[in-house]
Amino acid sequence: MNLKLKHIIVAALLVFLSFSSANAQCIDLVKTKGFTYLDTSKYIPEARFNSLPLREGDDVDIYKSFFKGRNYRIVVVGAENMPKLNFKVTNFQRQVLYDSNITKEESWDFISDKNQNLIISVEVPKAEKDKKPQSGCIAVVIGFAY
């Protein structure tokens, strides 16, 4: 087998394997780190999958309904190679209800005082100058308690 052909095969194998593992990484992040911070003995995880791969410097807004009188926990976590994430919870008028920059926590517990749609904005801090931006999964896990 010539060398060029060997390189092609190895490259194809790497593409195939990286694609398969990328698919599994985000759901794994939700079910491991996400569920741990949520504490599934106290909170029932909601069923939507709010996780995606991002790079340093990227951000995502998640629009979500919250109902009056319900006790919620919002957890925001990233893959091991990612920096600590910042998140804010705002209403549609962008009035800030919670800011993790202030509390330095990965989660926020609250009881919704009304039926409302809120925005959870997650920001991956920018990479340091001259460093290659890291990329990895981030996850927003939401649970409710009885």
Binding site: C26, I44, P45, A47, P53, F144
Partner: protein, 272 residues
């Protein structure tokens, strides 16, 4: 030797393509439900509209100690064979997920198990593999679980489906499942209300509260003009939203009854 290498590369190429598109090789509207590929390298600011899952809808609407389980309300399991297009299957995965969530809230293990099994088969039919794990089905069948445990299993199964569809760029399928689930959960709620706002005030309040989840759904459906699969569903959602506005403007028995009638019409159209 070269022939073997050629087939190895061909196999890897086909496998990668299969994983990225992940369509089941069946019926006519399959391509329409495959969605579009987004180059993740170009995404800097993402927006996710996290509409309620059918199971979460059921909890918000009908998890109420004053209510009871009524098997007559839910979509019969025998209807399962009728759904022979991907659109119908996707809508009714949502319908059956709302039904089994209703059953689980009242600890109806057998119905929860049977319907979860149906959802598993339907999911596989449209190329969603590994959504409902065998260990979860076994747990429901063999263990005495309370409603919280069942809810965790149902939510984790739905999350697997959601993750699979998102990662394979099949957003249209998940949108249809969510619409089917939203309508079915509302159908269960209005049936339990017996079309009267006075039957159970907490239930009425929960039905009215879902206006905000419909607003998110509208937002998610903003850019579907010209999509012949989603346009009729958007028209249904628009009609329901108008009915909400009428009730908001003037909440009385007649307007509530009209709302219930509309939900019933839309739902019956989905399950036939």
């Amino acid at each position: 030797m070269n022939r073997k290498i050629f087939f190895l590369i061909l196999f890897l190429g086909i496998s990668t393509w299969f994983l990225s598109s992940c369509k089941s090789g069946e019926s006519a509207d399959n391509d329409e439900l495959a969605g579009e590929t987004i180059d993740s390298a170009d995404i800097r600011e993402e927006i996710l509209i996290s509409m309620l899952a059918p199971s979460d809808m059921a909890v918000m609407l009908i998890d109420n100690p004053a209510l009871s389980f009524n098997k007559e309300i839910i979509n019969p399991s025998s209807n399962f064979d009728k759904y022979n297009t991907n659109s119908k299957i996707a809508l009714n995965i949502g319908v059956y997920t709302a039904d089994l969530s209703y059953a689980s809230l009242f600890e109806q293990e057998q119905i929860t198990y049977d319907y979860l099994d149906i959802v598993k088969d339907m999911s596989e039919e449209i190329g969603i593999s590994q959504s409902i794990e065998k260990r979860h089905l076994d747990m429901i069948k063999n263990s005495k679980l309370d409603k919280n445990d069942m809810m965790k299993i149902i939510n984790e199964s739905f999350m697997n489906t959601d993750a699979y569809l998102r990662e394979n760029n099949r957003q249209k399928v998940i949108t249809m499942i969510l619409i089917g689930g939203w309508v079915e959960a509302q159908y269960i709620a209005v049936s339990l209300s017996k079309d009267s706002p006075d039957t159970n005030s907490q239930l009425t309040e929960s039905i009215l509260a879902q206006k905000i989840s419909l607003e998110l759904m509208n937002k998610a459906l903003e850019n579907v003009a010209g999509d012949k699969t989603l346009m009729p569903l958007k028209a249904d959602i628009d009609k329901i939203y108008k009915a909400y506005l009428i009730m908001e403007d003037n909440m009385n028995d007649e307007n509530f009854k009209e709302f219930c009638l509309l939900i019933r019409q839309v739902r019956n159209n989905y399950v036939v």
